[in-house]
Structures are given as C-alpha cells and as structure tokens.
Symmetry: C2
Subunit: 213 residues, 2 copies
DNA sequence: GTCTATAGGCCGATAGAC
DNA sequence: GTCTATCGGCCTATAGAC
C-alpha cells in the first residue's frame, strides 16, 4: 500500500550535528514542554552553539515540529508490524494487541510523552494535527481489529467496537502516564509490571467483574 | 470528622481583586501551562496592573500554586458528597461512582485540566505532591468502594480491586482528556454523551466482551 | 490597594568572522 | 558548519507615588 502523505522524516536525512540537536531537543521538549525549554538549554546540552541550532533549523518552532515529527514517525511505525499481524485464533489477537501496544508506549517513552503533551496543550495549527493523526490511526487500527474479531464471533455483537477500542487504548495510555505515580500508591501490584497489567486488563475486559468466581 | 491536614484554601479568604486574579490565572495556566503564561497576560486579562499581582501574590510560582491549590480543593471536595453516599444495592454503587466521577471532571474542566497538567509536567517539589494527593485520594476512595461491593458478593473475588479502580478512573480521565479529539473521529457515538459513555463502560466492565449475546 | 516606571536578565534570532 | 558578539524585546520582580 502506497504512502499518500509525505513520509515523516524522523531525522535520518540530517547531518550528524543536526541529528544530535534534534535528539537532545526531543528529550528536553518531552520533559519540560515547548515553553519550558530554551534554545540556550538545548545548545548547552547538545554541546553546540545557539547560532548553530538556527543554522540547522529555521526557528525554535521548526525545531520543535521536527522533534514532534520524529516522535510521531517512531510511534506510528512500530505498531504497524507488531500488533495486527498475529493472526492466530481470534481473541488472542485482542490480548496480543493490548500487550504489544503498551510495550510500544513504554519502549519509546520520550516519543510517547511528546505526543501526549502535544495532545494536551498543542495550540491548534502547530503540530497538534500530527499528534491527532497518530492517535486516530492507532484508534482506527484497533477498532478494525475489534470488528474483525467480532465478526468471528469471539466478541459479543452487542459490544460497541469503538468503545472497546477506546477503553483498551485508554487503559494503556493511562498506565503509561501514571506509571511513576502508581509506584508509591498502596496496594497496586501491577505497578512495575506491564505484562501482568495487560493480562489482567484483558481478563477483566473479557469476562467482566460480575459473577461469583 | 476533623480535617487533619491544613485545609486547602480555594481562595475564599482573599479580597475581591485577589480572587479575580486567582481565577483568571487558573484559566490561563490550565490552558497554556505555567511557562506558557506571563504575568503581563494575566494582568491584562484580569484588568489589573502587573504590580498589583505581585502585591497579592509573592511570585509567579506562588500565584500558580494558589491556583493549583484551589483546583485541588474543588476537585477533591465535590466527589466527597457525591459518589460514595448512594448506598442502594451494591453494584449500582459502582455504576453511580463511574457516572458521577466523570460528571465532576466535566463540570470543572479548568481544575481537572490544571491537575492533569501538573501530573504530566510538574517538577518534583513544586505542586506535584498536591496533585498526586488528589489522585491518590480519588483512587483509594474508589478502591475501598470496590472492595466493599466485592465483600457483598456483587464483584468476583478473583478481581483485583486496585485494577478495577484504576481502570474506572482511567476510563473517565481518558474520556475527559480526549473529548475534543473524539468529536472528529469516525464511528464514535458516545463522543458528546458522557452519560451514555459511563453506562456503556459499566456494562462492558461488568459483563465483559466475551460471549454470544 | 492600585498604579506608572524601571531595573536587570534571559529570550529568540541575526550578523559576520573563520 | 561552527563560532562569538550582539540586537531588540519580553520576562519576573521591585521602587515609589498616590
């Protein structure tokens, strides 16, 4: 299937110095947000001069968008091959998606955080559409998967596929966002254990909490 | 029951002008984050001079913390009376908590957003502990509720109460965070309908997606 | 309590040498 | 491509009149 939109660059066309700047900028933007980082800080951390940054990127916003672009490219690309392919028996595909989606989020915490941050405070017209596209694509992918499994009869036909997809993505994103906070909450035994979390979420979503077992 | 910690002030002890400043600051900080708002902007929006802000609040950070404090007070207080009290039959309490918790989030979008933002990018040592306390208290409240209902037999004993509580809070927070984005996603019919969302989430969590119904 | 005026510093961005 | 030096502006915060 051909790419329709211009491919996200993710920075591999740039010189070594530019790549270094881009990576450092991504880290700092993910940590502190666009307004919370100065070009000076990026320059110091990257070991280059401020002017050099403006040589490789036309403005602070341009640098930020390049970093966001790279993050979106990373985040969208990995899920592609990982989660939809396991064409075993039907309901295992849902289980597999849940765990590998969370794995993707956790393996690229900076990219995930940058995208989450952009969804939270992105001003309309900057990179927000980019982040929203990544979100929408993930969401549609899993909705399709749910509908597929549903057609095979392993998910009740009365279930709203969009809702189930939304809850699955939400469960994973919420885990990612609060993984540090969870660690010092009492009585949570899945805090540092995403695999156990994924499995427990699947069991709960599959069978529900009502009953006597 | 006596308050142990010093009560969150929520701003009602302040003069009219100070309250006005505090409210405007809360709105702008919620929208753009701490670094994304200047004292000048707050002063203009509030119709006072910059110096007047520093008369009522000792610093920008002090103003921010006051706004965060107010938001935490609002967010923690409302849930108190609203959700745990309905002592009807057991599993209805879970349903009721789900919908009224979401209602609280949506009725105070600025406070909710300010707290969510602080959880995302708060530097350790500013107001992050405050926001974490609000989160932790909500979480413990619902965990207790789940355990309670579980003891009455309406929730399987095999379910991890912490996990169910985590998922419920997460489902609501995720809805809140993405309610604007959802509106232009295809195939979501619960986008502008939190009540329908709450009910559907309850049904799914209660009975699961597996089966033939 | 509220204002105008201003201090002192860091900001994003540019000029120009090498 | 990389640097030093610098510009004009906006920032937080303060001084001091009223």
């Amino acid at each position: 299937m051909a790419q329709i939109n211009p491919p996200l660059t993710s920075g591999e066309n740039r010189s070594g110095a530019a790549q270094n700047i881009l990576e450092v900028a991504g880290q700092l933007f993910a940590r502190s947000g666009y307004d919370g980082v100065s070009i000076n800080e990026i320059a110091n951390e990257a070991g280059v001069s401020k002017a050099n940054i403006f040589h490789h990127f036309k403005s602070k916003k341009g640098l930020y968008l390049a970093a966001l672009n790279k993050a979106c490219s990373l985040s969208a690309g990995v899920l592609e091959d990982n989660a939809v392919e396991s064409s075993d028996d039907s309901s295992d595909r849902v289980r597999h998606f849940l765990s590998s989606h969370l794995e993707v989020l956790l393996q690229q915490p900076l990219a995930t955080r940058l995208i989450q941050r952009e969804l939270l405070d992105g001003a309309e017209g900057n990179g927000k559409e980019l982040a929203e596209k990544v979100f929408a694509e993930t969401f549609e992918k899993i909705t399709d998967l749910v509908r597929d499994v549903q057609a095979q009869g392993a998910i009740k036909s009365s279930i709203d596929a969009s809702l189930l997809a939304f809850l699955m993505v939400g469960a994973n994103v919420f885990f990612f966002e609060n993984r540090d906070l969870m660690a010092h909450l009492p009585g949570i035994d899945f805090a540092g254990a995403p695999d156990r979390y994924s499995e427990a979420v699947f069991e709960l979503l599959a069978h529900g909490f009502e009953g006597q077992s």
